[in-house]
């Protein structure tokens, strides 16, 4: 696992669909493995291939696009809803993503992502909309995510076709992350390391509980 996150600068893969549930991210029939590796090849399996067949990729699905590449996935609101399967986070990470940007994440998915050093970045609805517009207009646009400063930035492009007065400037937004988790991600710490260091306090708690 690629541990610790600081600054990620990359082109991105836009998936402007809302309510993407974890059954879409990785269907249940691919949850039979007993290790964490190899789920990436079945990421978005049923959106990616016709008739469950890798020989017939769906041309209009973004993961099959020769144009959109990069380690940042941009997704519609309520991303990762449904099943708690951590396999969804593993599949996204295994497929080469380090960041998922959305205006809203489901709780369990967000925790699973953080526990796998896959950074969920929550932006406003308006900012998300702008990212989609800019990236669809110019797929080579590089987005910068700076965890230390808690900022996400994207340059607008001259040819985006919009009449926006910010044309040619860089748009930025701050994102929230709790300071404990931020420290973990910056330093490559797991929750489990922290919890193991708490063993004495846990035992004390147990001795006092009814």
């Amino acid at each position: 696992m690629n541990k610790s996150i600081h600054i990620i600068k990359s082109t991105s893969v836009p998936l402007s669909i809302e309510n993407v549930d974890t059954d879409q991210i990785i269907p249940a029939r691919f949850l039979k493995a007993t290790n964490r590796e190899g789920f990436g090849k079945n990421l978005f399996r049923d959106w990616r291939y016709e008739n469950d067949n890798e020989a017939t990729p769906k041309k209009d699905f973004v993961l099959n696009s020769p144009v959109f590449k990069g380690c940042i996935l941009i997704a519609g609101k309520n991303f990762g809803c449904g099943s708690s399967r951590e396999h969804a986070a593993w599949a996204i990470k295994d497929a080469g993503f380090d960041v998922v940007v959305s205006s809203f994440f489901a709780d369990i998915f967000k925790n699973n992502a953080l526990n796998n050093f896959l950074l969920p970045v929550v932006v406003s609805d308006g900012f998300l909309q702008r990212i989609f517009e800019i990236v669809y207009a110019n797929p080579s646009t590089e987005i910068t995510v700076n965890l230390e400063n808690q900022t996400i930035s994207i340059p607008t492009t001259i040819n985006s076709g919009s009449n926006d007065e910010n044309e040619g400037k860089t748009l930025s937004e701050n994102f929230e992350i709790n300071s404990y988790k931020k420290t973990c991600l910056l330093n490559g710490y797991d929750d489990i390391d922290y919890l193991l260091s708490m063993k004495k306090e846990i035992e004390l708690y147990e001795s006092n509980r009814i």
């Binding site: 309510n19 007993t34 964490r36 809203f104």
Partner: protein, 482 residues
Amino acid sequence: MSSVQDTNSDSRDKAQNKAKSLFEKIWEKHVVKEIEGGPSVLYIDTHLIHEVTSPQAFNGLTKRGLEVYRPKQVVATADHNVPTLNQHLPIKEELSRIQVQTLKQNCEKFGIELYGLGHPYQGIVHVIGPELGITQPGTTIVCGDSHTSTHGAFGAIAFGIGTSEVEMVFATQCLMQSKPKLMRISVEGELKKGVVSKDIILYIIAKTSASGATGYAVEYAGAAIRNLSMEARMTICNMSIEMGARCGMIAPDETTFNYIKGRQFAPKGEQWETKLAYWKTLNSDRDAVFDKEIIINAADIEPMITYGTNPGMGVGVTGHIPALSEVDEKEKPYFEKSLNYMGLQPGVKIKGKKVDYVFIGSCTNSRIEDLRMVASFVKGRHKASGVEVWVVPGSKQVEAQAKKEGIDKIFEDAGFLLRQPGCSACLGMNEDKIPAGKYCISTSNRNFEGRQGPNARTFLASPLTAAVAAITGEVGDVREML
């Protein structure tokens, strides 16, 4: 009539010293340590595991050279990936067989009680916890499964976790958790005939949307909830996650205590009295403040059915699928994608829509009361031709009870197939899949694209509404047939 009220956090802070909600009472008792600017270290009383989300956690322990810290607080079963026919034979599919065997080996290695295939207690993890008396009020319960919210029906904080968190609980019996916001949903008044708990929760989710409770712990209250049996309450709490809630809960009362008393792992004798006294304190104080309150009139609820690809896309059976003009402009792309998948048109009535499959099962609706409800409707009737009906009991104990009551005969006479316990076609992980393009009316909890099999189309409904479809071959109104 429903109303929504937002409460600002100032008034909540002031109230904190005095009145407490059910959630807060249990949460505070389980905080081992609070971290500034971060989550709390939360102690977990009961950890339920199954074959699909545990193997990588056990591998993690082994890699770190750790033991399971409190193996007696962990209970295992095999449910997600087991066949529901011929369970006495070795599992045919290799990967599934290995996964179920791996659970057995891990439980033996780490000293965990396993109710695996062939055991009289085996079943869906959220069915067996309550039925064995493992699920108790005032406790914290986790499982690597989002429907762990089911156990909140007993007045417990119960929620689903990922596999990394399963590993944390194995190693330390604790988790890092941020305290959620609080929401209370009160269902007041009396339910109308033919309307059951599944309809209540589908109605609530349709009102709040599939993400409307994200970040909240939800307490269900009100007369219509109080009047429900324990099994009906479990159906409500079970689907809390379908509106994004961290957990769902109902304050324990005499119904709860009567249900638990005498069960296999329920407290006994003096211990029962001590626990009972504590459990009776578990309710929200009169002045407890919630970040959000929703009040629903039970009489407004009719039998519900979903038409789309998330559980929030539901209407009353006599209603119609929203017309394009009724859909918010922003929601249109998703709405149209959803209807396109379902092969349905906007604005049309859903009643009368033909179905190919009926699935009665899952952690939402596979308990004995669900089977009794279906049997009492179906008795003396026969399924429509061309419809395939699967009934999958939630556990070996439910299956045995159904047989004892002759429910199996009623199903057989009706042309239904009574299968063996497991999650089955709820998630289509084993071979129990709905074929591409077919319509299935299902008592389960999710109508996501491909959930019941690639390109399968799901209508979520109550066991009664599913029974109507089994007999008539179409979506119908149970109230016309009672």
